[in-house]
Symmetry: C2
Subunit: 199 residues, 2 copies
Amino acid sequence: MSLRVLGVDPGLTRCGLGVVEVEGNRRATLVAVGVVGTVAGTALDARLLVISEAIDLWLDTHRPDVLAVERVFSQLNVSTVMGTAQASGVVIAAAARRGIPVALHTPTEVKAAVTGSGSANKDAVGKMVTKILRLDEMPKPADAADALALAITHAWRRGVAGPGPTAGSASRGAAPVSGLTPAQRLWAEAEARAKRGSY
Amino acid sequence: MSLRVLGVDPGLTRCGLGVVEVEGNRRATLVAVGVVGTVAGTALDARLLVISEAIDLWLDTHRPDVLAVERVFSQLNVSTVMGTAQASGVVIAAAARRGIPVALHTPTEVKAAVTGSGSANKDAVGKMVTKILRLDEMPKPADAADALALAITHAWRRGVAGPGPTAGSASRGAAPVSGLTPAQRLWAEAEARAKRGSY
């Protein structure tokens, strides 16, 4: 019994994508990882089309149980954050069109989940992702490692704290179980059994 | 010979959509106008799905030659602008998937084009849209009128200043004619003829 999560670190210049399969005992295995990039200066519609086609391909190829996306906040660089938000909109809508649930996680939540510290740097996150997934080397670029970290974070938070936050729930609390796909429900049950068991 | 423009004023709570048919002599006629809305508090993926399905329907029903979208800027209300950017990303990608060119216009450009003043208020824009399209009453809500104003602006700016800015051109200058659809090229030629003629 396992949960397949597609993590996406959205962006126009580099959009990280990573799929992990996470078992009820929290063991996470890499399924696929990659980055889709577009060149600054290219027309916005052409850039969003590349993101759109990439997410469609990843969703159809890997058929994840859930999509985990980084929650976008306004940053100092406003022009970048607009493009990031536009890319995340395209990614979220692609999952929604397929009926795949979407969960949003903040960078702090991701860092805390995989390293134990909400203020960890990108290198620390990458190293922990490498260790968790038992890889020989760190996924590059950082956007790819971040996408995997998002996917791991979603599965673990969901397993540890209940079904986990969905796109509609701003809090960290458990979302209604009715929002789960059959695979997620089975996984939640397996997780509950594991909690009563050996770890 | 005419140009059919779908104007979109993006937003999660209210997304205005308006289609106008503009002739070479600048005469603009209303084809369709509407608003798609989602309720704050609904899950983000569900909200973006509503926008996605609406824009797909409008593009397939009205088959515009070009999509004109309001250029999103950061505003004081950061939480709103993120949702607006996500909605605009979904809208732009939908056009790009169909090979429909996308043009971005700022609110100032739209106000200036339809009222003559870049600082006109929403009511002034709505009144001019009503007059330009020879309507009996002002399209409501303001998002619907804004979408029509965007569509008119694109056709007029394109006619007056050349092919007009596309998604990739930050300047107000003319974009390459090679980016035009056959219908746009014909319209540009008709416009050029009209300029040499009676007005």
